[in-house]
């Protein structure tokens, strides 16, 4: 029970759809405490990823596929989330190397490297009301699930649940990074759009894994 390239393509296909579907909602979250473009930014990026994936060789490794996601996001999303998510995918891809299959520990390594990539670029800490508040609980939950012997899909399911809870947990926070930090107390009561979209992406990974395993 491990995940291969078909999981990656299913994950990215799902993400393309989920992002497109949530475009308006993510931009609306961003309008509350940012500049109202987060959904637009990600949708532009993942639409480009979709096009790029059409040319992905059938025998591509998961790492190569995620690297393509990374470079495409970096060169199409812009804003803060472009370099941050792009780096997440880039570091995640590097963690996978050219392994054709990913086991439960591989999933943890992928998520951890992705999170570390976001921190490397953005220097945010948990509680700063950023996408890190989705990634870090996801990484922690994934580690625990893997240690408890969960399957890759089980690890991702745990990560997704934690990421969603993490996104929700940003609501009462004051932001200390990104545009929302300009607002001070006025950011309280609003969910961070980047945390929300990261939770959606991680959830898409879990859904794709469940379907792949299914």
């Amino acid at each position: 029970m491990s995940l291969g390239i078909s999981w990656v393509t299913a994950w990215i296909d799902d993400t393309v759809e989920v992002v497109s579907h949530n475009r308006t909602r993510l931009s609306e979250l961003d309008r509350e405490i940012g500049d109202g473009d987060h959904g637009e930014n990600l949708d532009r990026g993942f639409s480009a990823v979709k096009v790029k994936f059409d040319t992905l060789p059938d025998d591509a490794t998961p790492g190569a596929a995620l690297k393509l996601v990374a470079t495409t996001l970096i060169s199409t999303v812009g804003g803060a989330s472009g370099p941050l998510l792009g780096t997440a995918f880039l570091k995640g891809a590097q963690a996978l190397g050219d392994a054709p299959e990913i086991n439960a520990d591989g999933v943890v390594a992928l998520l951890t490297a992705a999170r570390d990539g976001v921190v490397l670029r953005g220097k945010a800490e948990p509680g700063d009301k950023t996408m890190i508040d989705a990634w870090t609980p996801a990484v922690d939950a994934a580690g625990e699930a893997a240690a408890a012997g969960a399957s890759p899909a089980g690890v991702l399911r745990a990560a997704a649940a934690a990421a969603s809870a993490g996104a929700e947990s940003t609501e009462p926070l004051v932001a200390r990074k990104g545009r929302a930090s300009y607002l001070g107390e006025r950011a309280i009561g609003h969910r961070d759009p980047g945390a929300e979209s990261s939770a959606l992406i991680i959830t898409a990974a879990a859904d794709a894994a469940a379907a792949t395993e299914g």
Partner: protein, 333 residues
């Protein structure tokens, strides 16, 4: 939402294309990756200067490409930092062998994308130095924020750095000028009504008919506080206080007073604001030796203004006065 646009998706491409057509004597537009460079490209032996950021702030930045100011500008999507690719391309096009200065407004997105671009340009053998502009006193510069935003003061940084590059300063010297201007420049903005991002179709924030937002940025972010509408003079007092106290500006200082419109406020009102700002400075013994008034760093059709004060010494005055020939700022040539 009513706008003079075609498809919201093409707003930036079409606008920049039109800009290139209207100012073919000054600039050349690269459509893909999208950037605007001086007609004729880099000046050999001179430092190139590249700036950029989200669109919607016109004339910033493309309007400042030309002799004595920017070598190239990189317009991102509306209110969204461009990606590294066009920044790298613009950097290569701006390199005259003496390296390239990146002037970056302090937003996480701009900083990260320019950072990546600088790394990539470096890999191409072009030396890049970056200066971050963060003149907005409405935001506390602390560990608990992304730091002060770069707003209207960017024009002053670009003008003076451009003049330094034009006179032949080397990269470190041009960067030092940019850093110096930023360090003596403070800005604060107010909004009466937000602009509408084309793809969003709704105002970034909504103010009722007797509310204004103090301390706004240039991306339709809400500001520092929302207060009841006041007479212009009272609003100016509110804005100038934090600006002057911050540096601080003191009696005997010579300054540039820059009243900048956010796009939707008529020039008639800019000068009403300028009038009172000038009188407040005079009262404090601060001498206004240079001025700039108009829509230079806008936020689409936002109604509002910002006030920028830059402390001038002889060098900065000379750099400000140096000839400039761009679509939006032009004198001495």
């Amino acid at each position: 939402m009513k706008k003079l646009i075609n498809d919201p998706k093409n707003v930036v491409d079409e606008s920049v294309e039109g800009f290139g057509l209207a100012h073919a004597d000054l600039v050349t537009v690269s459509p893909d990756p999208l950037f605007v460079v001086r007609a004729g490209g880099a000046t050999q032996g001179h430092v190139g200067i590249v700036s950029g950021g989200g669109s919607g702030h016109e004339p910033l930045h493309a309007g400042f490409v030309g002799h004595g100011m920017l070598t190239a500008a990189v317009p991102g999507p509306v209110f969204t930092s461009p990606t590294p690719d066009p920044i790298v391309a613009a950097t290569i096009a701006s390199d005259g062998g003496a390296g390239v200065l990146h002037i970056v407004k302090n937003y996480t997105g701009d900083v990260l994308n320019f950072e990546t671009a600088a790394d990539l340009a470096d890999a191409e053998g072009i030396r890049v130095v970056s200066v971050i502009v963060d003149d907005d006193v409405a935001v506390k510069d602390s560990l608990f924020t992304a730091g002060r935003r770069g707003v209207a003061g960017t024009v002053v940084v670009e003008k003076c750095a451009g003049a330094a590059a034009e006179r032949g300063d080397d990269l470190d010297a041009v960067a030092a000028v940019a850093t110096k201007v930023n360090s003596v420049t403070r800005t604060m903005g107010v909004a009466l009504a937000a602009g509408i991002v084309p793809h969003a179709g709704e105002p970034s924030f909504t103010l009722s008919d007797d509310e204004i937002e103090i301390g706004i940025g240039i991306h339709g972010e809400p500001g520092r506080e929302r207060i009841a509408l006041e007479p212009a003079d009272a609003i100016v007092d509110r804005m100038l206080g934090p600006i002057l106290d911050d540096l601080p500006f003191e009696s005997g200082d010579r300054v540039l007073l820059f009243v900048n419109g956010m796009g939707g406020t008529p020039l008639l009102e800019h000068y009403i604001v300028y009038r009172h700002a000038a009188s407040v400075l005079a009262e404090r013994g601060i001498e206004v030796t240079r001025s700039l008034v108009g829509n230079y760093v806008t936020s689409l059709e936002m109604q509002g203004i910002s006030i920028t004060v830059t402390k001038l010494d002889d060098e900065l005055t000379e750099l400000w006065d140096a000839p400039v020939e761009t679509a939006a700022l032009r004198w001495g040539r």
